[in-house]
Symmetry: C2
Subunit: 524 residues, 2 copies
Amino acid sequence: MADTAVQGMTGAEAIIGTLAECGVTACFANPGTSEMHLVTALDREPRIRSVLCLFEGVATGAADGFARMAGVPALTLLHLGPGYLNGGANIHNARRAYSPVINLIGDHAVTHRAYDAPLASDIAGLAKPNSIWLQSVDNVADAGRLAAEAFSATYGPPPGPVSLIMPADTAWTKGGSIVRDARRAALKPPSASAIEEAAKAIRKAKKPALLVNGTGLHAGGLAALARIKASGVGVFSDTFMARHSRGGGRFAPDRLPYFAEMAIETLAGTDLLLIAGTKKPVAFFAYPNTPAEFTPRDAAVITLGGPESDSAAGLAMLADALGAPAAPTSVPWSRPEPPRDDAFNPFTIGLALAAHTPEGALVSDDGVTAGLPIYLCMQAAAPHEWLGHTGGAIGQGMPVAVGAAFARPDVKTICLAGDGAGMYTVQSLWTMARENLDILTIVFVNNAYRILTIELARTGAGNPGPTANSMLSLGSPEIDWVKLAEGMGVSGEACSTLPQFNDALSRAMAHRGPRLIACLIPGS
Amino acid sequence: MADTAVQGMTGAEAIIGTLAECGVTACFANPGTSEMHLVTALDREPRIRSVLCLFEGVATGAADGFARMAGVPALTLLHLGPGYLNGGANIHNARRAYSPVINLIGDHAVTHRAYDAPLASDIAGLAKPNSIWLQSVDNVADAGRLAAEAFSATYGPPPGPVSLIMPADTAWTKGGSIVRDARRAALKPPSASAIEEAAKAIRKAKKPALLVNGTGLHAGGLAALARIKASGVGVFSDTFMARHSRGGGRFAPDRLPYFAEMAIETLAGTDLLLIAGTKKPVAFFAYPNTPAEFTPRDAAVITLGGPESDSAAGLAMLADALGAPAAPTSVPWSRPEPPRDDAFNPFTIGLALAAHTPEGALVSDDGVTAGLPIYLCMQAAAPHEWLGHTGGAIGQGMPVAVGAAFARPDVKTICLAGDGAGMYTVQSLWTMARENLDILTIVFVNNAYRILTIELARTGAGNPGPTANSMLSLGSPEIDWVKLAEGMGVSGEACSTLPQFNDALSRAMAHRGPRLIACLIPGS
C-alpha cells in the first residue's frame, strides 16, 4: 500500500477518501450526532453516493443486496451501539450470504468514553460475533490504513461484513491520510488433487450427488453443472443461495428441500456427496426425532471447497476431469403464458410472475412459505438473478431489493415479501420512493406467520391454544399494505384474483419506479 | 428457594411456570420455530398474557414501558440472535432506564449447535454487553432455577435487562421443575453517614445544588425535593428520566439542559453538587472545545447514592437532617386554557396538550426536539407520569407507550414521537390496534432529523452540502402518517393549525383506544 499524506485532512476525510479510492461507490446511512463529520466528508466525496434509510436494518440489508449485484462492498453508516443493533439482523444475513459489507459505526469521542454517557455501549462486543474483521480508529493517523484494511478484509475469503468503529474525535481531528491500493482477495482456486480425487470417486460411485452454492450458481457456473449432471451425477443446490442465475431455459440444479425429512429423502441412497462452495447439508432447525445431518450415514463426502472457494472454477475443472460431455447450458425457451382462470395462491402467483418477469430482473426473496412455490415456478421465467435468503432472519427482502436495485438501475428488481417478513423492515418502501428505485414489491398477505403454523406441528409443541394461535396470526387487525405503501410514497394496489394480478403485473412491469402489489391470499 | 418437582414437565413449562410464580404477568413476543414449545407453554399459563409484536424492538421497548409502570419485569420472547439484535436498541434503552426486563431468547437445540445452521450465532456474545445477567439453560433440570434467578437478577440493584437463553431441546425435554420464592431485591437504602456529611456541607456551601433521578422523581419523592429546595438548595433533575411524576401544581425540579454549554451555564457557580439516584452529569455527546463534565471544577461533589439507590428515601432523610421546612409539595392548580390563535409549533402544541391531558395520564417521550418544549409546557398539565428517554436510541416512544398502556389500562397513555423516531418502530401501531390500547400517539412531522441539523453545526462538521442535507431530511417523499396508522388499524388525523389540533385532542381524549394525530410542523 502506498500512503499519500494529505496535510490538514481529518480522520473522517481520510476514511471516506480511502474507501472511495478503494472503489466504494455507495453508502446506506442513518447517521447521528457522532457521525456528523463523516456525513460532511461524504458531502465532499462525489464518488460515493449516500442513501438515507429510515432504519438501520434497511441500510445493512441494502449493503448486502448491493454487494450481491456489484461484487464490491457498500458502506453503511451507523450510529453507535444501538445503530449497529438495529442493523444487526441483516448483518447476520449478510454474513450468511458471504456478502462483503463495510459497517462504519460512529462512536463517542475517545475522550468521552470514560463518562459512560447515555448512548455509550460496548460496540466492539456487540459487533464482534457477526464481524469477520473489527477495528476501532482510535488514532487519526491510522484512519486511512484501517479503512483500506477494512475494505480488503471484506473480501475474506470468504467475504463478509466487517466493522470499522470511528470515534467522533478521530473523525474531526486533522492528521489523516488516504491509503491507496487496498488488496481485493479472490475466492480460493480449487485444489487440483481434490478434483482428481472427486473424479475418481464419481467413476466408482453408484449414486453420486453434488451439492453446490456460491459462484457455481452464477451464470458462469451453469455450464459445468450441466456437464456434471450429464455425467450421471445428481446436482443439487443448497436450499438458500445468495445469488442464483435462473430462467430462460438455463440449466437448473434441483433445490435441496427446506424440510429436514424431505431433504433426507432427497439424498437417500447417495453413496458419494460432493460439496462445492458450501458445507455439508444440515437442518435449518432441530426437531425432536429427526436427524440434523442430511448426508446419508454410509456416503463418502468429498469437498471441492467451502464458501471461501470459487465453486464455478472448481466445477469446470471437475467436468473436464470427468471428460463430461458438452451438455447444453440452456434449452430453447419461450415466455410462458400466464394462468388466467384458476385459484389465487402462491403457486399460481408464481406462474403469473414467471410470465411477466422481464429479462435480467433481480428477484429478492423474503417470501417465506410463498417463496418456495414461486421459486419453482420462476424457473420458467426469463433469465433473472434470484437473491435468496441465506441467513434466516426475516426482514431481508425489501432492504436487499433496495441495494440490488441501486447497484443495477438498468433492470427491474422484484421483491417477494411475506407479510410478517415485510413488516420487519417496512421502512424500506420510503427509500424505494426517495431514490425512485425500479422495484416491484409483491407482498403475500396471508395474515399469518404461516411457516410457524407448520413448524409448530413439526416441533411437536402440541396443539395450539388461543395464545399460540394469536402469536402466529397477523389478522386482527389486518394490515392494509396499499395504505402503508402510499404512506411512504409508493403507489400500490391489492389483488385477490389472478386476472387482477395479471393486470397489476402488466402495469407494474411497464412502469419504471417503485410499486407494490399486495396479494391477498388468506389461508395460503 | 423451594423446588417443587413436577414429573413430566418440560423445560419450557418449567420456565414459564416459574416466571408466573414469580409474578410475571406479561410477555411481549415475536417467536420463531425455536420458541414453539415456549409458545404452547404460554398457552397453558393463564397468569401471563402474551402480546404479539411485529418487530422485536416493539417487544423490548414495551417490556421497558411495562416495568416502568408495573414495577415488575415483563418477559420478552425473542427468536435467536437476530431476534435479540432486532430488540437490542430498546434493550440498550431499558438498561439506561434501569428497567427490569427478562429477555427470553430461544436458541437452537444444544445438539444442533455443532452444525452452524443458518440462524446460528453467538447469542451470548451479542447479548452480553446490554445484559446485567445472562445464562443459557443447557440442562432441563436447571430451567426453573435459572428462570427464578433471571427474575431476581432483573432487580439488581440497579435493576436492568437480563438474558435467559433457552435452547429448543431444553424447552421440549421433560425433567423441569418450577421454582418458587424468587428474591426481589430492593433499591439500596441511603447511607446515614453520607446524609450527615451532605447536610453539613450544605450548611457551609454558598451555592449548593442537588441533581436527582430515580425514585426521587416519583410522586413519593417530590415532598422531600420541595423541602430541600426551600432550604436554599438548587434542585435539578437529570435531562432524561425513566419516570417523573409531574403536573397538577406539584413541585418540579429544574431540568438540566440537554446542550452541554447550557448545562454548564446552569451549574456555574455551584460550589457543592449533591448527587441522588444518578451519576455526575456529563454531556450526551462530545463536542470539539466543549467540556464533557458539567460539574464546576471547584465544586465539591457528594453522592447520596447512584442508580442502585432509593433516592426518594435518601432525600427524605436529607430534608430531615437539614431541618428543612415542611414546604408544600404542590401549589393550587387549575387546568389551563388551551391556546387558540397562535402559530402551530412544538411550544403551542405543548400548551394545548397540557390543557387537554387527563389526570393520571402516562406520557412516553420520543419527541426529540419537539419533546423539549413540550416537557416545559406539560408542567402546567394535570398530574401525569412522564416516561423519558434515558438511553438516546430513538424508536423507544411508541413501544414504551405500548407496555405502559398494557400495564395501566385505566388511564390514557400519550406517546410523543418525532417523525424520524417514530419510523424506527412504526410497527407498534399495529399492536396498539390489536390490543385496543388507550394510546394517543402524537407525531411531530417536521420532515427532518431536526436534532441533527442542530448537532451538525454544534459538532463543527462544516456547512452541510446536498448530501448532508439529504441525510438529515425526511421530506421527498413526505410520510403520510395518517395512512401509515390506518394501514395498521389505528385511526388518525393530521393537523396544521391550533384549532384543528385542539379539536383533534378533544376527540382523542374522549375516545378510548388507539388514535394518532400527525402534527404537521414543517420547519419546526
